[in-house]
Assembly symmetry: C2
Amino acid sequence: MNELIEKARKLRKAAKQMAILSAEEKNSALMIMAEHLLTKKEWIITENAKDIEAGKENGFTESLLDRLLLTEERIGQIVDGVRQLIDLEDPIGETIEAWERPNGLQIETIRVPLGVIGMVYEARPNVTVDAGSLCLKAGNAVLLRGSSSAIHSNKALVHVMHEALAETAIPVDAVQLLEDTSRETASEMFKLNQYLDVLIPRGGAGLIQTVIQNATVPVLETGVGNCHVFIDETAKENMAIDIAINAKLHRPSVCNAAETVLIHKNWPFADELLSSFHDRGVELRGDTELTSTYSFVKPATEEDWSSEFLAPILAVKQVSDVKEAIDHIDHYGTKHSEAIISENPDNVRLFFQTIDAAVLYHNASTRFTDGEQFGYGAEIGISTQKLHARGPMGLRALTTTKAIVRGTGQIRS
Amino acid sequence: MNELIEKARKLRKAAKQMAILSAEEKNSALMIMAEHLLTKKEWIITENAKDIEAGKENGFTESLLDRLLLTEERIGQIVDGVRQLIDLEDPIGETIEAWERPNGLQIETIRVPLGVIGMVYEARPNVTVDAGSLCLKAGNAVLLRGSSSAIHSNKALVHVMHEALAETAIPVDAVQLLEDTSRETASEMFKLNQYLDVLIPRGGAGLIQTVIQNATVPVLETGVGNCHVFIDETAKENMAIDIAINAKLHRPSVCNAAETVLIHKNWPFADELLSSFHDRGVELRGDTELTSTYSFVKPATEEDWSSEFLAPILAVKQVSDVKEAIDHIDHYGTKHSEAIISENPDNVRLFFQTIDAAVLYHNASTRFTDGEQFGYGAEIGISTQKLHARGPMGLRALTTTKAIVRGTGQIRS
């Protein structure tokens, strides 16, 4: 039996045990896991150094090496993340709805774990613990498939997690690292419907598309955000500029950062807005209305309107009204997060009603599309698909339901 | 541009219009659709006769021809189904949750249509209207991909639906029939993520697996039910026998019918139960304990325990206790519907807590796993997967959510 099937079977079995654990048992296990990670941090850093070494030999970029790196401080952050899960309410066992049928049947839907989750991610060893512990908190078993370039770090982290779980009610087998990081085995994993209930890819667009294209196991799609900020005619000057700057520049490399700002042609502060971006070193790419007025705005190509730059580059466009803004967003958007800055309630209503996206904002930055910012306490990703969960996904996104029906001998007539 | 892409584009556009329709507009459209279907029933029957004729020429079985057949009575039933949708509450626009964040952001999640749904089904022309009208009621546009053997019936039904919609607020383009029923085009449809939000296959296990294996568009999986009835030591004689008979024989061809009855070895009424089945012409296949006692019980093969017979055949097995019953169900079940007949609350609790299935029953027939029986008013299928919807799926399963965030200039720090 190969490693994948062997581990998948163990996970299936562990998932059964996980499903009946109490919140206290899971929380106590997370506490012990946090302690072990702290105690073993030096060894983890030593193992991580092997990946860093190999990365350098393979000519990894500085930013890639930085993602891979574990330091004492970063392990501290990982441990804090695990501890924060302890305070979150356990979603398992919650009654979602309960009702009685005319024939006397009592129906109750309750929240239960998904079962076995397959996490597929890139060279960020923190995901091993972040995602792993989140899955456990929601009562799931988890198969971790990280990058070969982080294999020493991942093995060390999972080794420590196993040592910790051995002292707890959570079965050690509930966390498994797939050490065979070949493409063939990944393909096999993506089709393992018999053992895996869901796949969650975390990483760049390429990784996510690979999983979607090859999976038969249901996928929780996270991903691309080509987010827009539309500044309406009535938008307040400072509010609009602050929000646009924040949405673009607070953290340009993430999916909820803005990529295009649409400016109503009658809004009087376009000068101030564009200068603010220019002064901050943002490359502006605009339509002809803007390039003809502002020498520092370069012409935008068709591709720019649909680009997720993830960099200090911003597409800017003048629009005649809210409808043109909506049409632009409909055409180029990725249904992630879209904002309108306006003092006109009718336009806000139209924007909210018409645009099909996970999260819509009025007078706030798109950067709030985030599990913690939404108050979910932790986040497994931001769903850009419409099934199961849409937008920021917290613990509940890692659960499913079960209907319990209590009768007194009812049969169907 | 081929037919598929052309229709998919029209659907995408229609979906935008659908999303902002009021409940009244949708209901009035359904009413008009029902009237048109009644007015044109004779023409529909004439068109259906062409499919029946072709089916006979192609040597279709009686049961296949029966599925294909539209009669005045059956069209009446289809029309009744459409009319029943009118009374159902419109799920669109419903506030699911609303909360405020410490920074003053007001977050509200509301229910919105999925968008464009791809229905994939077999030679049952009633699905064209049943599923089509259900999708419309939930504010979706729908691409119908039926069987080539029902093409004349489907074209006629969609033609009448189009004539009706032309008089209503629902855009005519919101319902499209894919007339090209080739496998190649089906494969293309299953990967049309740009235009389709979800695929719903309705039919046999083969069809469902084909969709799952080939789709990149998310699939709402419906399907196989290898359902069990476990009769515990304390089960009441008549209740247990009535439920077992009902679960097996009320409609043996459907997924919520029971396929195996597990009998506690100390339950005193096994004779009566097995004779009741035997007297009703049910073929019994059992383990050695039962075959050695009852001459009319044939030996069960390993395959029998995992079979969805969909016929008057029943697997029967003696078990030592509730745990053995649970283990058997875990091993052979399909996580659909499982029942325990018992007067022992501890055993019921263990059964409910331990078994991983969409619906669990105490002292009731598995036949209640059904949208109408659950009180959903209509059903698009019974989900056997864990994402999005599990168990009977009503109108809500055809919706997703959208988060609306209202701010006063909040930016992320």
